[in-house]
């Protein structure tokens, strides 16, 4: 099938920062994203998991954003401005998409 080159950006970020991140992405012209729940993890700030937690302070989400290559840089700048002072991980992968007109 006809596919088109694009970038898949995956941002793992604290749940409290989610709305700030997605607002920044939208300002940077991102047209869509998908948010996955994260169950737990580990990093320099230690191990954690979600079970039994009631505070929004715990917990992260994963924001996945498929984007055309030419928009990538603007998007990464916007994302970085939000995650900069926070814990979290940003990774980018080359991908191919169906229905490229959507991105």
């Amino acid at each position: 099938m006809q596919t088109h080159r694009a970038k898949r950006v995956e941002i793992t970020i604290e749940a409290v920062m989610q709305s700030r991140l997605t607002e920044a992405l939208q300002k940077a012209g991102v047209k869509g994203y998908t948010i996955l729940p994260v169950y737990g993890g580990s990093g320099r700030s230690g191990e954690w998991n979600r079970s039994g937690q009631i505070s929004r302070a715990h917990g992260m989400v994963q924001v996945i954003c498929i984007i055309r290559e030419e928009r990538l840089d603007a998007m990464l700048e916007a994302a970085f401005a939000v995650v900069e002072r926070h814990i979290g991980v940003v990774s980018v992968v080359d991908c191919n998409v169906l229905r490229a007109e959507r991105f």
């Binding site: 409290v16 230690g46 079970s51 039994g52 937690q53 009631i54 505070s55 302070a57 917990g59």
Partner: protein
Amino acid sequence: MSELFSLAGDNLLSPIILSFALGLFAALARSDLSIPEAVAKGLSIYLLFAIGFKGGASVADYGFDARLGFSLLAGVILSALLPLIAFALLRLMTGLSRLDAAAVAAHYGSISIVTFVAATSVLEGRGISSEGYMVAVAAAMEAPAILSALWLVTRGSGGDGRGMDSKLMREIMLNGSIVLLVGAFVIGWATGEDGLAEISSFIVAPFKGVLCLFLLDMGLVAGRGLRGGSGILRPGVLAFGVLMPLIGSGFGLAVGAMLGLSLGGVALLMVLSASASYIAVPAAMRVALPEANPSIYLTLSLGVTFPFNLTLGIPLYIAIAQTVIGG
């Protein structure tokens, strides 16, 4: 004194405390016992709704009190001032950085609603009544402490723009637990005794049992936190976690007595002042002061001060209030 010990003993043997202990034990023993996040949130929604509603209904029932307005104001002031004391104490007693100290201080100005709920149920068990609007005072004390703490930080750093913005301000003032508590209070107030009668077999009868399961969960979370964060509990920090609630309760006592609250009301204000937040404030700190180490404030608040208040603090504050206020 011996009476105090016997009251503390009674308290320690209640299903509520033992459920917390069970959770703590399970987590420290690394059992895989866990309560799903959604269930824990559901339990907390139930408790906030029930406690708010009952407070409102009791205000509707016993009528307003001139003291309501003053009590709310006093709550706001207590919440705003206690962080300054906590901050000074932390800088004195511990080696925490300004940032970490401010973040911890915010927690101790704010309140722990479940400590409040547990105290209410101890008071009920002893037949001591209290002002229904203490629930509203609890809600009023959630947020001001955060502003004080951020002020401490910006003052220190020369105001680098960090911390508060209008979005965060709205998030704090309209955070879910405040809105639910105040909203349920208003509903209880508007529908009064009739409203309470309609739903009392939901919010009154099973309340204590639900509280047990919730405390089981808090024990699990606290235990996991202690396992991971026990490294940060150096003696100074640990001592702060026990000293600060005592100081806070002293302020609560003084203010409560000045306001002329009932015995139960004074005890609850002491409990509120003594307790440390573990829901609203941590979330605000992650947004506003992300560099502050969360395991310090979470371990202190949930792993040290919460169990202290639950087991020894509550009966102690009630006993002191009884001695001072009489009744």
